[in-house]
Point group: C2
Amino acid sequence: MFDLEQWSRTHLDRVERALDRWVTAEIPSGLNHGAPAQLVDAMRYAVLDGGKRLRPLLVLAAYEALAESPANAEDGAALRAACAVELIHAYSLVHDDMPCMDNDVLRRGKPTVHVRFGQASALLAGDALQALAFELLTPQNDTVAPALQARMCGLLARAAGSAGMAGGQAIDLASVGKPLSECQLRQMHQLKTGALLQGSVMMGAACGEPSAQVVTALKTFGAALGLAFQVVDDILDVTADSSTLGKTAGKDASNDKPTYVSLLGLQASRDYAQSLLREALDALDASGLTHAHALRALADMVVNRSC
Amino acid sequence: MFDLEQWSRTHLDRVERALDRWVTAEIPSGLNHGAPAQLVDAMRYAVLDGGKRLRPLLVLAAYEALAESPANAEDGAALRAACAVELIHAYSLVHDDMPCMDNDVLRRGKPTVHVRFGQASALLAGDALQALAFELLTPQNDTVAPALQARMCGLLARAAGSAGMAGGQAIDLASVGKPLSECQLRQMHQLKTGALLQGSVMMGAACGEPSAQVVTALKTFGAALGLAFQVVDDILDVTADSSTLGKTAGKDASNDKPTYVSLLGLQASRDYAQSLLREALDALDASGLTHAHALRALADMVVNRSC
């Protein structure tokens, strides 16, 4: 029986240590001026010691599902990819929380970055975190094959950009107070949250030289999982409280944002999340991958989580 | 005799057309929802029809200095690099102009992006422009060798990030109202402006397989040019008016920001700019490159410009 908790603990430990090492090292040691230190402080505050790290775990789980051996040559590439997607996720939260966006003061149970460091530093820290993600993917010491570096940069840029996460946030922004069809709501979430979750799966898989069949199956898996994540997020926004979530609950409703719950109702949203989970697991079956235990367990956790 | 004006006209035309094509195409055609259209509008407004395009011209000039033939196989890579650095530059201006940073309302003679589209859209447009830069560098159609894609992503990420442009902006932010030594001021500008200008030169050169000697020489050239650019910027902030600059003149002094003029005085700043120009041109001589006419002329233009 696969033990997700134990698997996660091992891999989260690797991710935390790697993030701790990398969200510092890129600052040249000769730079002792106060401001970059403050920038790094804000970057570290945004990234370290918080979050479920779902995206890094998806990268590593997809990599493991593909890899012949658990410690082969591209192991370092998968860890870099895991940290890079988390940096993109972290920067998006920093910017999303700013007063001109969601104006949120609480995140992962702590004051948001702009509350703690000021808006200008939050803006710059987010910008620098996005660049750092691409730095991580392009090590200058030849530890990752150049073609894989290029492939991962391309996947990450597309997942994060105007046809991915940033595009979804723009739809979100324009949708406040407007009625959306289910199709439009799905489109928004596919970009806003789904693109980076799917991108995490594809980046992890890219480290293991996937066949065309596997790529197709994992794309379907990632898309279903990404949408399920958001449906469950909408459910929890209504059913959980702020201390459980580590962020302000009920804010979608109070911000008059369209959600699955407001569109479909609570029970139909729960049913939809379960059907997306089945779709994701069916895709894994179709992939032919025999080591997809962690991917399978993560999908189950995403849909059946309580926070 | 090399004609910079004619050379620039030809290359600017290529860059403008490429930017016009690329700051749209990445949005999937199926997405007809209003918000991504608004995001793309803001991105296009930030990028198109404005600016001197110094960074793209540096990329193309460095590429030409290296390239055996003016239209060899990596020509497309150089054009992509030229546009990518401009996207990074454009995003940095969008974010820098926001109320929580410089709070500027005029840029290139037009209202700034947040004035025109609102702060949230400006924030997202900047974020999406950064991602788009890396999309441009990683075409999925095999037109650029994967190793070159990786090399250029690495150069751009480092030039833009916490040890480059974003780091310099953080120092700038922390320096308002504080006395800086000349060493600290230089360090700030080397990151804030110099890193991306130097990065432009190195990315152009990377498309032409430079020798170690050429890399060293062009690094020196790019560093001297980058610093000279900022010294001249500080001079023009004092000596030119807003309509000539296309942005608010005198804002450094009114914002109580340390500048070369405030530190060294006007004449010594002019002398310093000329000595940096000599250093840049000497580096080109040392490079052994025989087709560096455009790089030479651009350096001269940067130092002797009037706006």
